[in-house]
Amino acid sequence: MTQATLAVLRALSENPTQEMYGLQISSAAGLPSGTIHPILARLEAAGWLDSSWEDIDPVAEGRPRRRYYRLSPAGAARARHALDRADAAVAALRLRPATGGAT
């Protein structure tokens, strides 16, 4: 799993019940806008994400509807697991004693 995917999962996991649209997700994940669509599509295809349209009338509002994403119940559990594993890997790297030096 790439760092970008982990960043997206982390952003969505902050509040798993909250729906977010693409620009919000990229901003929360610290990724350039426009780069997360493949990630969202992959996660949705894998069943980790659910998506739905914003509930507005585009004509009345004078703007297109946003596409909202949130973690599915199964996706939330998998995301937590993936993030925990990534965090554990980072922690293990930090705890690894320095090598080399006097013997």
Partner: protein, 234 residues
Amino acid sequence: MSDRTRILLTEALAYALDFAPTRSPTRALARTLARALARARTRDITSNYSLARALDLAHTHARALGHARTLDLARDLDLAGNLARDLDLARNLARDITRDLDFALDRDRDRTRNRDLDRDLDLARDLDRAVVVYSRLIKLLMHTELGVPPREGSARSAVVVSPAAQRVTTLVVQLLPAGCRAVKAEELAAELHDIAVAGGPRRRQLAHALRVLATIVPLRRALSVSGRRAAERG
């Protein structure tokens, strides 16, 4: 070679020739492209090598054109700072797109060797789209608002969605699997609108659209998988 592919390559050639009188490297590329086109006309295009080669040449030519023209834009306008950086960004994105399309072409060539005629027809259609998108992208970079400084004191209350960014997102949508186009078209339109509402200048909107275009290969792949799974679920 399909009539459509031939027309597209002819257009690309005509496009190259527009610039040929002033640029010898471009003229040479245009000549090479013309030769490839002439060869391709005489062959049965299900020998896809000719098509792929012609597309490669079109690619090379488009890349050279984009690079030279973008540099000229910056030089002629004598603009420094933000504009130069934005042009660099556009050029880098164009390079990324070229690389992605190259990967796609390589992969599709491999597929062509191993798959049946139906697959080949799909490939030819996809490559047609790639040619269209790439030539339009280069035209866009040449004529876009990238060279136009943002207007001073323009009314923030009016939402101005960049036509160039809209054109790029339209091209993105054309490259996606048919079943996903309507959803992505509206989603991308909403994103451009949101950037505009937030006061994002047209260049930022265009950069956003180009970033989406730069990820077209993985996006198309992911959406294809999604579509197949949906079909399997019935």
